[in-house]
Symmetry: C2
Subunit: 245 residues, 2 copies
């Protein structure tokens, strides 16, 4: 089960907050979960959650947390559901919960609604927050079809139980049949503890040739990506995507 | 010698002209040059001139023609210099010459001013008109360092007499030491006789590591590219670049 919690937080501050607080919110989140679980996640590498800050206004913003497994929901979402406020230490800022929105979608539903239904061959992905990939130890800040779907397949196969979609052959198929047909992209830096990670934002449109099954798989993975995010450091707010925009 | 002729042309039309007239102007240009020379150019493949239309206003535009060799100057620029007006048949439009601007720069000057002078390591290239490359028979509408400099080196070595800058080794050096550090690019279509060629416009910034000599070579080729344009169909108006913008 994938679980998405959106919390609307009110704050009072002289200056408007900005997107760089995503990593601060990550710290706050880690402060509310069981330490043993947090350490285990740290060791595991691929984290079963993503979180980010969006819709930042003068006095409120949305904190969005997605968990990709049942255990992560229990360990991460449930403690947060009980909180009525959070505290941002370094700014001495109280964040008051004024709305919560919990949404759940099962991996089976994803498969039924997208993989087993005929999907259109064109698909647009908007990279809303700074996105980057790592390949052979280097940061890559320009998307390729392979890097996007390698990341999504890896996440999907790690967290969904029961179904596996990926193999080297699947990726080769995707590389052969999926083409970027339009794009508008620009590089940005994602600031993280004084380090600037080269990344990009923008939009790409892809066209899927080949069998309809592949079209459906691509669509399903892209929908999944709206929850899982894509690429590196997604637990810190990178890699959020929206489709069909 | 590289020769650049800018002709300001006045016109009277109900509707403003647009960039798609570049290929019409190519037709007009071909109508004013010796047929045998035109046919030879056609057979040769890499054409020794580029032309494009820019600064289009309500009643005037700039027609820019660059020739890359002495012969092309004599065959292309000189006949155009004698003309006081041109005629755009399919629109029944008279184009009156109201200004001419002729500029010449020798390959030796390029080498002296750029290759033999210390150049900065960051360089920005703006792709002003739709740009595309061809690689293994496919159109490529996203720039890479290799494709840009492969194209520029090929043009430079074909048209400059006396100096050669390129080899597979040079290209490998360039690929290893030149990185795109920032970009803002989007795909566009270049319309040509009913065919739409996938292309891009926008800006990239590169940083050159490695020996200073390589930095200088990159800068010299980029300056050369402002005259020669880069990639495919540059005689029809594609691939115009500006540096340091």
């Amino acid at each position: 089960m994938i679980t998405q919690l959106e919390i609307k937080l009110k704050y009072q501050s002289e200056e408007k907050l900005n997107y760089n607080i995503s990593s601060v919110m990550h710290g706050i989140l880690m402060g509310h979960i069981d330490r043993a679980y947090g350490e285990r996640m740290h060791e595991d590498g691929l984290k079963p959650f993503v979180q980010e800050v969006c819709n930042i206004k003068e006095d409120e913003f949305i904190w969005r947390i997605c968990t990709m497994t049942e255990e992560a929901k229990i360990q991460i979402i449930e403690p947060l559901m009980k909180m009525d406020q959070f505290y941002m230490k370094h700014r001495e800022l109280r964040l008051k919960v004024c709305e919560r929105n919990l949404k759940e979608i099962s991996y089976d539903t994803l498969i039924e609604n997208y993989y087993f239904e005929e999907q259109p061959r064109n698909i647009t992905i908007k990279f809303c927050s700074p996105t980057a990939f790592k390949s052979q130890g280097n940061y890559i800040f320009m998307p390729t079809v392979r890097l996007i779907f390698q990341s999504l397949i890896h996440k999907y196969d790690t967290f969904s139980s029961g179904t596996m979609v990926g193999s080297e052959e699947t990726l080769e198929h995707i590389e052969r049949y999926v083409m970027i047909t339009r794009y508008h992209l620009r590089s940005v830096n994602f600031s993280l503890e004084g380090v600037r990670i080269p990344a990009f934002v923008g939009t790409i449109t892809m066209r899927v040739k080949g069998p309809q099954q592949l079209v459906n798989l691509i669509k399903m993975l892209a929908v999944f990506g709206q929850y899982s995010a894509v690429g590196i450091k997604t637990a810190l707010g990178m890699g959020r995507i929206q489709i069909g925009v």
